[in-house]
């Protein structure tokens, strides 16, 4: 195994944070996540960690797609961890918490996406569409109910994140939908 570069740099300066990966779960708060280009994120590592030995203490498994072992945190406590590669994501279980990381998408691409004239309202839960409350051309307000998805026997109401005009609704009642699928395309209101 090749030694990771960031460990070699330790001691000289705080390690650079999240160069290759960005956290996608738990999803960072919207205000912080969208405003800040990931690669220019300020280093917020506590002072103590610059001198501590934050590192893997030992491995009980070290395969290409699976690591398991014990890790020493910056505060000196040690915790068990597991890491798995799933597709292009790194899934981590450490100190009882779960994290998912994805490769960084550059800030310019992220911002570009947000400035486009159409908003795509994406499905956040897998399930079945049971009601669609809007159709093409409808004007909707922020917070208005758009459609209802049933997932694991629970109704999830999808609300409009902002005011606008419905451009397209590519789903209809009875459709199976999965996370990330487009539910409603919205032309945001001017100045909203």
């Amino acid at each position: 195994m090749t030694q990771p570069e960031r460990n070699q740099a330790q001691g000289d300066q705080p390690p650079p944070r999240q160069q290759l990966l960005q956290q996608v779960h738990p999803t960072p708060r919207e205000d912080a996540a969208t405003a800040l280009p990931v690669d220019s994120q300020p280093v917020d590592t506590p002072l103590a960690s610059t001198t501590s030995q934050e590192e893997v203490l030992h491995f009980s498994a070290q395969e290409r797609d699976f690591w398991e072992g014990r890790y020493r945190l910056s505060d000196g406590t040690t915790v068990p961890f597991q890491a798995r590669r799933i597709g292009q994501q790194v899934h981590l279980w450490i100190g009882g918490e779960s994290f998912v990381f994805s490769p960084v998408i550059s800030a310019s691409r992220r911002r570009g996406g947000q400035q486009s004239s159409t908003d795509e309202i994406l499905c956040s839960v897998p399930g079945v569409v049971i009601a669609v409350h809007v159709s093409e051309g409808d004007t909707v307000e922020a917070g208005q109910d758009l459609l209802v998805i049933e997932s694991m026997k629970t109704e999830q109401v999808v609300k409009s994140p902002r005011g606008g005009t419905v451009q397209r609704v590519p789903v209809q009642p009875g459709d199976r939908v999965d996370r990330g699928m487009r539910l409603v395309m919205l032309v945001p209101l001017e100045g909203d």
């Binding site: 999240q18 990966l21 590669r85 279980w93 994290f99």
Partner: protein, 504 residues
């Protein structure tokens, strides 16, 4: 006693019931939907039959299929578990017609208790206090003036045939009432085949405390103490404990007597649960409903009383009388249950699916796991999102919480998002630790459902993820520009062929 029993359910309860059946020397028959073919409740069964289908409606809710399979397998009885057909009077009656024993109360009792209006009347007749409520609402109607003028908003919309929070809505303002009635009615119709709803007085500071009841066919009825179920999200329980920190001995005795009186008045036989709402401000209690089935949270009662509730269900259904009296019910210590849900606590508890690449339950003194899944199994969107129940017992409450906390810390799950991070925080929260919490607990403390901005663990996660990524991605693409190219040019990555992670 029966020699063979079919378990008409899936998940952890189908496993739990079969554990007792097998311990009693009874042959078990499992049934399964297509996605559940490799599930633990199937692999552990002495016999298993496919239900040939995917959705609950075409599998675990198909009454005719289940009864004909029970006959084909020559089972003498059906255990319905909870959910699905457990409180369906027509299924219960159909079992009897087919000469099968339904392990639960009679069809008449289920139908009486399943109707929230009639069960309230039964409670009133038994002298048990009830929550004030409106007459039934049918789609199209708009009038509730007399109820609303007496109690005002906020108000609860409830389904007459509800349960598990389905068909229930909290309405704060008048203009939200009509949409809530319609949506609750639709959800109830989809879940229970019955869309009638009604309004109920809402108590802002309420605790949810229930009493376990056991009754035999001869009318011997006892209660098995209380369970505190106030930690809920979306009106569904997440954490339960016994004994409830909310009750003093006087209140406990009085509620226990009410529970027994109600069960007797309903002609109840087998295991059931009487749910009460306790007004945290006044200490007054009100009957909510009686669940005519084994309850999800029955293990905490089993832990403090050292008895097997499922065994009693089976013995009573087989015609045996209770050999326990109320004086024999002497609980010891404290027990806590955390429900492990496939959901994202940081995203409004949205359901989660995926493959359980890591699922390594903790062990240790006072720790019990009732689980319906195994490592490698896929979690699908078709059924309930509860994967397992982690239960801890301790000689006193603090010891019990400490054991649970350590167990949750040592429970790696990868591939499916679970509520374990929420559970860890919830049981260590000062409000939970004090025992002084009510059903607003989850909503009141946003820190339980918000990821920490920065913590040593989050820092370590970011560093470790980078380290792992660099070691796991071949060096020539292990730098940033190439990764970007790869995302755009998907699926050309060299790791495309290793989507499924290997097992240790």
């Amino acid at each position: 006693m029966f020699s063979k029993v079919l378990v008409a359910n899936r998940g952890e309860i189908a496993v739990r019931v079969q554990q007792t059946l097998q311990a009693m020397g009874i042959t078990t028959v499992a049934v399964y939907s297509d996605p559940d073919a490799q599930a633990p409740h199937v692999t552990m069964a002495d016999q298993a039959y496919p239900l040939n289908g995917v959705s609950a409606e075409e599998t675990y809710l198909d009454r005719r299929k289940l009864i004909s399979l029970a006959k084909e397998a020559k089972a003498e009885a059906i255990h319905p578990g909870y959910g699905f057909l457990s409180e369906d009077p027509s299924f219960c009656a159909a079992c009897a017609e087919a000469g099968l024993v339904f392990i639960g109360p009679s069809a008449d009792t289920i139908s009486l208790l399943g109707d929230k209006i009639r069960s309230k009347d039964t409670a009133i007749q038994a002298g048990v206090p009830v929550v004030p409520s409106s007459p039934l609402w049918e789609p199209g109607e708009t009038h509730h003036e007399s109820f609303l003028s007496q109690w005002g908003f906020p108000v609860l919309v409830k389904a007459a045939a509800g349960g598990g929070g389905r068909g229930m809505r909290l309405v704060e303002r008048e203009e939200d009432l009509q949409p809530a009635l319609e949506s609750a009615s639709r959800e109830a119709a989809a879940s229970f085949g019955e869309g009638r709803v009604f309004l109920e007085r809402f108590f802002p500071a309420a605790r949810h405390v229930e009493f376990q009841v056991l009754a035999d066919a001869s009318g011997n009825t006892i209660h098995l103490m209380d369970r505190e179920c106030s930690v809920q999200r979306r009106y569904q329980k997440v954490i339960e404990e016994t004994p409830s920190p909310a009750l003093d001995q006087k209140l406990r005795d009085s509620m226990g007597e009410s529970a027994v009186a109600l069960a007797k008045s309903a002609g109840y036989s087998n295991a059931g649960t009487v749910e009460f709402l306790v007004d945290a401000r006044t200490g007054q209690y009100y009957f909510l409903e009686m669940n005519a089935r084994i309850q999800v949270e029955h293990p905490i009662t089993e832990e403090t009383l050292r008895l097997d509730m499922v065994e009693w269900q089976i013995r009573i259904a087989a015609g045996e009388n209770l050999t326990l009296s109320q004086d024999d019910v002497r609980p010891s210590g404290h027990a806590l249950e955390c429900r492990i849900y496939a959901e994202d606590s940081y995203n409004n508890f949205a359901p989660s699916i995926g493959t359980l690449l890591s699922w390594q339950p903790p062990h240790g003194m006072g720790i019990r796991l009732d689980s319906g899944v195994a490592q490698g199994q896929e979690v699908t969107p078709y059924y309930d999102s509860m994967l397992a129940k982690l239960v801890s017992w301790g000689p006193y409450r603090q010891a019990c919480i400490g054991r649970m906390s350590k167990a949750l810390d040592a429970f790696p799950v990868i591939g499916v998002t679970t509520n374990i991070p929420f559970l860890r925080r919830a049981i260590l929260h000062p409000a939970f630790a004090s025992g002084n919490y009510d059903t607003r607990f989850v909503a009141m403390y946003g820190e339980l459902t918000t990821p920490a901005e920065a913590s040593p663990v989050a820092d370590a996660a970011a560093a470790l993820a980078e380290q792992f990524w660099q070691a796991s991605v071949p060096k020539r693409i292990g730098n940033q520009p190439n990764i970007h190219q790869n995302i755009q040019g998907r699926p050309s990555g060299p790791w495309h062929s290793i989507r499924r992670a290997s097992f240790p």
